[in-house]
């Protein structure tokens, strides 16, 4: 979230698209209700199904799964055509005026630089035209046809209401009404918040879905303001924390990228990350990257990280491919390239696409270690549970170690919520049985591995042997100690150049502003710096005082970065420093400094007359309507059909799917065609359950006991399917036999004149736990991910459905 | 009043046993039923071990009552067939009420009043049984819609009150008409009793219509 849960109440329009906030985030959804009741907000829902969120919405419009970019590009076209944009904001705070290189083109669904063989782009043309000083050229009059706003206008011009309706199946009048509601927030004192979740991410074009709405928000001037923003509702109590500390194969803590194998030299690595400002006088925060990196390496290797050793840069792994995501991991497992798997707090047999492939992969392992508080399906993949998990145990040689761990309520620690708050929590009870904390288990594995390397050597023992491990209890480090390590310390006496204040060696840092690139500071996760200072554990603060009743309680827990609650909040004020919306100011310039209810996302004493643009994490300081080289499939979002789709791409039939999607040949062979699998399926959660955990809880099992799919009345009638009757849902990859919920909430959509049926597949049932046994939605889903993140395409794929009888237990 | 030497068997042992089973069932039904009918009478549930016991037992005794009453119907339906002369007796019932039975036409085995009691009960007991089934919560609570149950409970109440009133008439008549009680306890009546109350029946007896063994020496 750029903003906070509480801040949603400041919105004038709440759009829920690519998510189902009421269903999946019922507690946070109270702020949407608050916005409606206290702020007169309109709630708009765009979703393939009439969801629980839609049930309390002011307006609902249906959409075919996987066509959000077409819808949102249509919205952008509408806003630009009706001139319903916040001009001053767009001109001053976005890259609308910047001029794009001549080489950049878009023809027939492809941007310039496409390489068909590698299915990747050479992105060099996706950038600004630079002047002789290396600054991006601009045309503030927007006359130049190559300036971003004009290229954008041209790019979205194809998304007429007719075209949007043909692609998305959304009736034109409904689409236009949504456009109208969205456009109402172009006024400087009006804001729209976008709430989304996996409904946008779980697509082969997931990241571009989100970018599309971010662009809409920039055009409306809704980023950085109260009640605005792009608000990803995280689906897991600590999934925000997971990405923050870099638990992805290509990342390090604080969103620093791991080096690639082309960056064997430390200076080369640094040169591509310390972004030079692209506009005169601009602040580009990532010029500080060296400080962040060196401090991280000091936290990792302590005294072994020295100037001479390039801060132990050589000990970092270098990626040979963009990332080793889970789809890749299971591909390797199936190919015999990965033979051991430590599965910590994760249930891939339920959670990852093409369950059959996951099961085959696990069956080829030498060993599998599962660490989980629950008896997961993954740890039982080898056991025959009847039709829901038909396994021949005798043929499976995988040795499985099932390690029970404590859960969040059985240990101290912090969780990072969607609003980036680090909230400390306290142990409530001891774990049951022989469960141990994840920290204890991981420490144990570390010590034994290190001992093995120490005794037996190995190809490259240094990274492990030199790791610092200076905890009071090395067997089970205390969570507070780990938190302090992430916060960072002064390793020598530090003198502040401006104030002359001295920070003594050994003291905890107050924030990442103190980090140095000379090895005198350490910080395990720079964005968390400030969470645990000499003043104590900031995450444990519980003062709910909200000075303006505007949803910002600065002394409740601690938010990264720097306890800032609304990102880009400099953009909440106009170029002269006056809030766009005087009724809901976030920060403003009082003549000498920036003041307000939030920590400024800007230099606190920087005079607005200096003209430094607000988006200081970008090297041009501007919000990007044109993404430059940062996206795999293009700097503008473009509608590509899901990998499994019932229709051709109406815009460019030759380029149907995301051209930069990575598809393994075996997975491609497992894609179904619309003649055999004519219906569009989409997966989702229900309020009654959380993923595959709560089916282990009696009460949740009572509230939603049994696997089912949702199917519209028209298709059900066509197929003779009765309410609550048994159905067989088939994709090219597997079969699910479950009950049918015949509902008015899913209606056939008219896509390019043809009726298109959508099937809803809730995900929660498996073969362990208290609820009735189920096959699991991932039995059906295709193994392909977003081209940037490899988040699997769970939200749009093809199935067939037939009436059947109850499954017979083997 | 001199004791006659001969007596007439009015009710056989089977008749009497069946009747008294029926009577016990009926009284239990009345007491338990009333305890669930009016708060003033809830105390009666104490006779049966409390409210839960009363509620649980009442329908089972109801089944017993139905079976037992069916026995009575099989045994007594013939002599209760309504005849023309019953109207004449009813017209003269005012004389019967003031103990001037001699002004009423002679009656057979049962007079019109007795027949009315018999047929009232024959109607009311099945009605009570059927409506009782509908409101038998434990087994049939979900078998019928609630509006049907509401009607059933109301009909059940009306029928029960009617049955109780009929029963009071029956009991009082047995007390008022002296020696009737003995007919149902020891089984016999005197020729004088038969002469006074059921003269035609006596004549039938005398003519041997009801068999020989019916008249015997006083025990």
């Amino acid at each position: 979230m750029t903003n906070t849960w509480q801040d949603i109440k400041n919105a004038n329009v709440v759009i829920v698209m690519g998510g189902n906030a009421a269903e999946a985030h019922p507690c946070g959804f109270k702020w949407v209700i608050e916005a409606k009741i206290e702020n007169g907000a309109k709630l708009v829902v765009v979703d393939p199904r009439f969801t629980r969120t839609a049930s309390v919405a002011d307006y609902y419009a249906p959409i075919r799964p996987g066509t959000d970019i077409a819808f949102l590009s249509g919205v952008m076209r509408y806003l630009l055509e009706k001139d319903a944009i916040q001009h001053e904001y767009v001109r001053a705070y976005t890259n609308a005026s910047l001029i794009v290189k001549d080489g950049f083109t878009f023809t027939d669904g492809l941007f310039s630089g496409y390489n068909e063989d590698t299915q990747t782009y050479d992105r060099s043309s996706w950038d600004y035209e630079l002047d002789k000083d290396g600054f991006a050229k601009a045309d503030d009059t927007w006359q130049d046809p190559r300036c971003v706003i004009n290229l954008l206008k041209q790019h979205v011009s194809r998304y007429t209401p007719e075209m949007v309706s043909r692609i998305c199946g959304t009736p034109q009048d409904k689409f236009l009404h949504v456009c109208e509601l969205i456009a109402s927030t172009a006024a400087p004192d009006k804001a729209m918040t976008s709430l989304f979740a996996l409904g946008w991410t779980q697509h082969s074009v997931g990241a571009q879905n989100i970018r599309s709405m971010a662009m809409v928000q920039l055009l409306l001037g809704n980023i950085g303001v109260a009640g605005g923003g792009m608000n990803a509702l995280r689906g897991h109590s600590n999934i925000q924390g997971l990405t923050d500390v870099g638990l992805l194969s290509n990342q390090m803590p604080g969103y620093m990228n791991l080096p690639t194998d082309k960056e064997t030299d430390f200076d080369v690595y640094m040169s591509t990350r310390q972004f030079k400002p692209l506009r005169p006088g601009q602040i580009s925060y990532y010029q500080n990257t060296r400080k962040l990196f060196v401090s991280f390496m000091k936290a990792l290797y302590g005294d072994a990280a020295t100037q001479e050793s390039n801060w132990a840069y050589d000990w970092l792994p270098k990626l040979d491919i963009p990332l080793y995501d889970i789809i890749k991991a299971f591909e390797m497992m199936n190919n015999g390239q990965m033979t051991g798997y430590i599965c910590q707090g994760f249930n891939p047999l339920q959670a990852f696409p093409d369950r059959g492939k996951i099961r085959r992969g696990l069956s080829k392992l030498k060993f599998l270690v599962t660490m989980d508080p629950l008896d997961t399906e993954t740890s039982r993949f080898w056991q025959d549970f009847g039709p829901q998990n038909p396994a021949n145990s005798a043929e499976i040689q995988t040795e499985v170690f099932q390690l029970p761990v404590t859960c969040f309520a059985e240990e101290n620690g912090s969780l990072v919520n969607s609003a980036r708050w680090l909230q400390w929590h306290w142990k409530a009870a001891d774990g049951p049985g022989k469960s141990m904390s994840d920290i204890w288990i991981m420490s144990g594995i570390f010590h034994r591995l290190r001992e093995l390397y120490r005794k037996e050597g190995g190809a490259f023992p240094d990274p492990l042997l030199n790791l610092t491990w200076k905890y009071t209890d090395p067997i089970s480090p205390d969570p507070e100690e780990l938190a302090k390590e992430m916060n960072g310390r002064a390793l020598a006496d530090l003198t502040d150049p401006a104030s002359g204040a001295v920070t003594k060696a050994g003291t905890l840092l107050d924030g990442f502003g103190q980090l140095r690139d000379d090895g005198t500071t350490s910080s395990g996760c720079w964005i968390f710096s400030g969470c645990f200072t000499e003043k104590g554990n900031q995450m444990a603060r519980r003062d709910a005082t909200d000075p303006r009743e505007q949803g910002i309680a600065p002394n409740w827990a601690w938010a990264w970065p720097a306890n800032r609650r609304i990102l880009y909040n400099r953009a909440s004020a106009d170029p002269s420093g006056k809030p766009w919306n005087p009724a809901k100011p976030v920060i403003s310039w009082n003549g000498t400094r920036w003041v307000g209810i939030d920590v400024p996302d800007y230099t606190p004493t920087l005079d607005p007359s200096k003209g430094v643009s607000p988006f200081i994490m970008n090297d041009e300081g501007l919000g990007r309507l044109f993404a430059r080289k940062l996206m795999a499939e293009g700097p503008f979002p473009e509608h590509y059909e899901p990998l499994e789709s019932p229709v051709e791409n109406l815009l460019h039939p030759k380029v149907k799917n995301n051209p930069a999607a990575r598809v393994f040949p075996g997975d491609r062979a497992a894609f179904g065609s619309p003649d055999k699998f004519p219906y569009v399926a989409t997966t989702y959660r229900l309020t009654e359950h959380f993923h595959y955990w709560t089916k282990h809880g009696l009460m949740n099992a009572i509230l939603q006991p049994e696997e089912f799919i949702e199917i519209g009345e028209v298709l059900a009638k066509e197929k003779g399917i009765e309410q609550g009757g048994w159905v067989k849902v088939t994709s090219k990859r597997g079969v699910v036999v479950c009950k049918a919920y015949v509902t008015k909430r899913i209606k056939p959509l008219s896509v390019d004149g043809k009726p298109t049926h959508v099937i809803g597949v809730p995900i929660h049932w498996g073969f362990t736990g208290q609820a009735r046994k189920g096959y699991g939605a991932n039995t059906l889903t295709p193994s392909v991910g977003d081209a940037n993140t490899q988040t699997p395409e769970f939200k749009a794929f093809l199935v067939n459905v037939e009436k059947t009888s109850a499954p017979v237990a083997a | 009043m001199s004791a006659s030497k001969t007596v007439i068997t009015r009710y056989t042992t089977l008749n009497r046993v069946n009747h008294w089973i029926n009577a016990i069932c009926f009284v239990v039904m009345v007491l338990s039923g009333l305890s669930m009918f009016h708060p003033m009478l809830f105390f009666l549930s104490g006779l049966f071990g409390g409210g839960q016991w009363t509620r649980a037992m009442h329908p089972w005794v109801g089944i017993a009552l139905l079976i037992s009453y069916s026995g009575l119907v099989v045994q007594f339906w013939r002599e209760n067939i309504w005849r023309k002369e019953d109207f004449a007796w009813l017209k003269a019932a005012q004389f019967v009420m003031v103990n001037e039975e001699e002004h009423a036409p002679p009656v057979g085995c049962n007079n019109a009043g007795q027949k009315l009691v018999f047929w009232s009960m024959t109607l009311l007991i099945p009605v009570l049984f059927l409506t009782g089934l509908v409101i038998w919560e434990v087994y049939f609570g979900e078998s019928t819609p609630i509006p049907v149950q509401r009607a059933a409970v109301l009909i059940h109440s009306f029928a029960a009150i009617a049955a109780i009133i009929v029963w009071i008439v029956h009991v009082y008549a047995a007390i008022w008409v002296r020696d009737s009680m003995r007919a149902m306890t020891q089984g016999y009546v005197t020729p004088g009793w038969a002469w006074r109350h059921h003269r035609k029946w006596l004549e039938e007896l005398a003519s041997g219509q009801h068999g020989k063994n019916i008249i015997r020496k006083r025990p």
Binding site: I33, T687, L698, I702, Q704, K744 | M36, F37, R196
Partner: protein, 305 residues
Amino acid sequence: MSDLQSQDYVRRSASTMTPPSARSHEEQVAKLIDVSRCIGCKACQTACMEWNDLRPEIGHFEGTYQNPADLGPSVWTLMKFAEYENEQGNLEWLIRKDGCMHCEDPGCLKACPAPGAIVQYANGIVDFISDKCIGCGYCVKGCPFDIPRISKTDHKSYKCTLCSDRVTVGLEPACVKACPTGAIMFGSKADMTHQAEERIIDLKSRGFEKAGLYDPAEVGGTHVMYVLHHADKPSLYSGLPDKPQISPMVTVWKGIVKPLAMVGVAMAALAGLFHWVAEGPNEVTEADEAEGERVLRESETEKSS
């Protein structure tokens, strides 16, 4: 069943005496359920199960999100889901939390034959005092909302208590505390009515012209009220009665029939008594015996001759 005591009672089932009503100065409470902001998450159901420590069986999927399938001795509140296509052809998903309405004039209490098994407290809560319940199911027939359910295990009737145990000690009912969107509110009936008025103004401004409060006068008002978008058609909400009333059958049964029947029975008995007093027994006379004997004798003679 709560830890209140008899002085809290303003109504008591099957009781001919007047309850003390010693606390009738207490403010009437009400739970207000704003259907227009309910998302059907079932947190209320869970909270109810938790607080009252109830665990119904794990059921089956029955073609609706409504789980368990029905209210029960262990299911005191239940989300009901209705898919409704309005006049404009737009879908509305009307989700209503079902449970005891705590009528001001409770049909269950009226129908109950067990003294003190159903009581109403001064604050308006209608509560079942289970140890006095005899399991007859009359409350089921008395209720205009089809709420009480009789347990097959202990043969007692159960329903929502409005968390009378919590309310007594100044807490809100468990469902109210758990509701994430504030759709369930609790307070004095006056405050809740006022709150509802504000909500209705908002709903009307959003195009629900028939929005209104469901507080049916036919049962004297209720201590659980709904804000409905379609107050003109409550039955759209999974069969919420349009005009709930205690069935005339029940009114007749528990009203006029009771005294009439008692009078009737008493009259019959008294009639007998006074008849006896006035006329005395109908006795067989010696003459009758003689006549009887004669008839028998004559027939003997006839037969033997």
